[in-house]
Symmetry: C2
């Protein structure tokens, strides 16, 4: 690509123009104190797009994927009118990280908190964003998230308050992996007796853009299917001004991949995780799992006359067909934003460097002065063994050998309206055969069962969840599962290796400065201990955030304080036993 | 392929075995007089299939596409429990040719007679098949029919009654065309501003089977995508015994193509059309349009030591990428059913031989002794000019320059429950600018409008419909549109060329022995005149049966006797204004 050479005067003039533009953008982005309602109108539909140069049908919001970022300020009310124009397909949208206090019916989890939104319908989500931080939204129906229905939520502090760290500019980056097959094809393969695994993604996207090499694809792809000159798949370029500090809000909504992210030659100081302030620590590679959000501070303190690579790589997965690293350009102004850095993109960490990932998990602690202390003890401990099972001839993911099946009437409605016959009332297991189950090996008997039973939690009780990893159905493989809890943040009390020791491991819990999060990994052959207060009346999903694992049953459901839930809006009804018409 | 040579004695023994088998099969297929209810349980879902050797996701019924044939006897009640396992997609199934007298709510037309059936839901269709004959069923939602959700209904005479023609065996063949793109991809292309026409089908299927040549595909296809040795795409072979008369029930559910069908060296005597007896006439090529059914008698009177080709070809469409002819084997027992005939498959008629197609249309008259005389006059004449339009930047098909938009609440419910605000109450046009519109040329102004208004017909009135064809938005092109009426059969009073003359053409109507049908073509630059009694209380779709034309708005809706419609079942509700929950 041609280098741009400009005289200094012109360069300065452009700098001024840029500064002005950034000022204008900042006016648009920074919420205005008076505006307490943030009203969005979205149309979602299928459109052809080429995020990685390969043309396929994606789900767009107002023509875009990722969808528009929701900008709000703490305590604002966000209203999103979602018009479903998917023709034959329903939808539902989850506001990931927003606890929906007082509005459990707008959590957007199809089958748990609402019926699906029919084609042609407009569903109005309305909720308060009660904490500043970095959040996400995405489809929570079938595997639609993978089709491109996702985006960011950025909640600013109220006017006059400031973050406990300084920065000049604030930027968002969503990481994703990308498949060329439709979600229908993937879902059909996953749910058939003749099981077909979705396989590795074809690309890694940085802020919705990747770049497949069309000319080396096998079999060769026609130019109307894959075209490297398509501007839609020009690499994402983030323009930065030298000598400044940038807050980068980095989030991952991968379907499958655990990622590492780095910016060539730049350190990153982690300051926020899932909306909570982190005691700052410096990384070269940020490990990030699907459903997590981080803020890092990056100083643009490198040699300014060139651009740098931002890269993302798959970790934790040893595959024969891994996607190429995801690339973006960290563009030092005034270098041309499309100018490739003069270097080879840095390679990521080894896929199986579990230690580094464990260590990053352990490093994430609440920031001093911003510590929410956890209750010293818990009222109940639920152990969730992560298992892969065979159920009636299909491959499933499970906890404690029970794979989750969604019932036909959403739980929130069933419980509130006392339709208890709509799902199993036999409680799911609180643990597994601790004494005899060897988590380190492939089980000889991998048969499991399915159930739609849920965990009913005493309101305001303190609940500990132990996520216990194990060997999958493939010998010597234990995957990383990022677990996401709806309606709450939890304290991350500890991570460990091997089998959780119910007597001794709790003694090592971090009760001093544990971070609060809504998504947390359980590392291969390891365990993760969480604590949360069941203080949010509603019904809440807790699940592995890998789209295919979730689809294959790796999820549970919690109920708490259903009697305190207010009147349900009729808009969430219309399926299962809630499908009853009376003339209005 | 190797020829099988058998000694005579073995051959006779096999003949006896075959006769016995056919006898057993006949026992299964011929309905038993006592069984008045035909109960079917269907699961519909997406599965990978290779109907023409190309592997793609199709919609199956109980694992099959085409779905199972419904066998019933006149006046039986058919109950079909449809379990929607499409994961994220709704559905609805139409019983094509069944008038649904007394059960207009089970016509299966999404948006007209019911809300869509949600994933996980089981919808129970229950209706009486009141006339013997050959009918169809298929999805009537989005473009799902094209994904493979279709099949046959065969209604036999009551015990003791016989057809006015003799035959030894009764067989069904469904013809179809087949696309490799998903219906999502097709629909997204059709409905986008950046219009993408679905194009020509890749294959023609005879009874669900075709054969793409994988090795000549461009670009080349991998063996896991296209495999000519896959038994799923071995050609359909119909085994016949020499010296017999076969009734072949031939129907078409093409998405796009008008077809001709022939059996090499065999004449066909047309005896039934859309469930009505036809005054017999002989054809070499049967022209058949999407939504039509015919019975033909074929004598297996040819040289018996070989097989013959059955072929189907596209007519009426001049395309640069036509699909290859559809092939099947008309297998004379005891030749091997997979043995290719020694001849080159016969070529079909010229695509633009409109005369032959007009002539076949004109030849189809009611059989003597089975004539239902039409009313001598009509109470109302509605002229429907078939137009292609540009509406708000998208390409549409229309009548009288008005392209149909489905409202959000199904008409049947809206009208019965008096929710008239849910759709436009401005009546649609009864005709076009007869004096000035030149049907023979591309219009300079092709702008159209959309509307969800319907035609309200006086109960028991007699209505004439004049389908008037015209030039499309492409110069010198007028397509063949097969129009299908729900809830009724109509008399076909006449076909003509050019612009319908409202004074003189009605004088030439055939009021003596017009055939009754439910689907009829309007030929290029021609007109077709229909008459029907508005005597079936309900709301009924009337539309071009080409899937993409229908999708693009080429449809109207009739209401008659809504006040006589019985209590609507709650199962059809749940969308639009019918989405209201009251605790049961």
């Amino acid at each position: 690509m041609r280098d741009y050479q400009l005289p200094l005067s012109k360069c300065i003039a452009m700098m001024k123009l840029l500064a002005f533009c950034l000022f204008i953008i900042s006016l648009i982005n920074i919420p205005i104190a008076e505006a307490r309602i943030r009203h969005y109108k979205w149309e979602i539909k299928y459109e052809y797009r080429s995020p990685d140069c390969y043309k396929k049908l994606v789900i767009t919001i107002n023509g875009r994927t990722p969808g528009p970022t929701i900008f709000a300020q703490q305590n604002d009310t966000v209203i999103v009118e979602v018009k479903n124009n998917l023709l034959t397909e329903n939808t539902a949208i989850h506001w990931h990280g927003i606890r929906q206090i007082g509005t459990p019916w707008f959590d957007g989890t199809e089958g748990v908190t609402q019926c699906p939104v029919l084609p042609g319908d407009t569903f109005v989500y309305k909720f308060v964003v009660d904490r500043p931080g970095t959040y996400l939204y995405h489809a929570h129906y079938g595997m639609q998230r993978e089709a491109g229905l996702y985006g960011s939520i950025r909640v600013a502090l109220p006017d006059g308050k400031s973050e406990p760290f300084a920065y000049d500019y604030d930027r968002s980056i969503i990481l994703n992996d990308w498949y060329h097959k439709s979600t229908y094809e993937q879902a059909a393969g996953l749910s058939s007796i003749d099981f077909q695994w979705v396989g590795d993604p074809q690309s890694l996207l940085i802020h919705g853009k990747g770049r497949l090499n069309c000319s080396t694809a096998k079999p060769p792809l026609k130019a109307d299917v894959c075209n490297n000159t398509n501007p839609e798949c020009s690499l994402y370029s983030m323009t930065v001004v030298p000598g400044k500090t940038y807050r980068l809000r980095i989030s991952s909504l991968t379907a499958l991949s655990a990622l590492s992210f780095q910016i060539e030659g730049h350190n990153m100081t982690v300051v926020e995780a899932d909306g909570h302030y982190v005691e700052p620590f410096v990384v070269k590679n940020l490990f990030i799992y699907s459903g997590e959000t981080y803020s890092v501070l990056v100083k643009t303190d490198q040699y300014p006359s060139r651009n740098y690579w931002a890269t993302t790589n798959v970790v934790s997965r040893n595959s024969t067909t891994p996607p190429p690293p995801g690339l973006a350009i960290f563009n030092y102004y005034p270098n041309h934003p499309r100018r490739s850095p003069p270097t080879i993109p840095p390679s990521g960490p080894l896929w199986n460097d579990v230690d580094s990932r464990f260590n990053q998990s352990l490093a994430i602690k609440a920031r001093k002065g911003h510590i929410h202390s956890p209750p010293a003890t818990s009222d109940r401990v639920i152990v969730l063994l992560n298992t892969q099972n065979e159920v009636n001839g299909t491959r499933r993911w499970s906890v404690n050998d029970v794979s989750f099946n969604l019932p036909h009437t959403p739980y929130l409605i069933a419980l509130k309206e006392n339709l208890l016959h709509t799902f199993s009332q036999t409680p799911p297991p609180e643990g597994y055969d601790f004494a005899n189950y060897n988590i380190s090996v492939k089980q000889e008997d991998s048969n499991g069962t399915t159930s739609d039973a849920i965990y009913r939690l005493q309101f305001n009780s303190t609940v500990d969840i132990i996520l216990q990893n194990a060997n999958s159905m493939v010998a010597n493989v234990s995957e990383t599962h990022p677990w996401h809890l709806h309606g709450h943040d939890f304290w991350v009390l500890g991570y460990g290796r091997g089998k959780f020791d119910r007597i001794n491991d709790p003694k090592k819990y971090n009760l001093v400065d544990p971070i609060m999060k809504n998504t947390v990994p359980v590392h291969p052959y390891g365990w993760t201990a969480l604590r949360f207060k069941a203080d949010n009346p509603g019904v809440w999903a807790f699940h592995c955030h890998i789209e295919s694992h979730f689809f294959m049953g790796m999820r549970v459901t919690f109920e708490e304080g259903i009697e305190r839930v207010g009147k349900l809006p009729s808009s969430i009804m219309g399926c299962g036993e809630t499908k009853h018409f009376r003339k209005p």
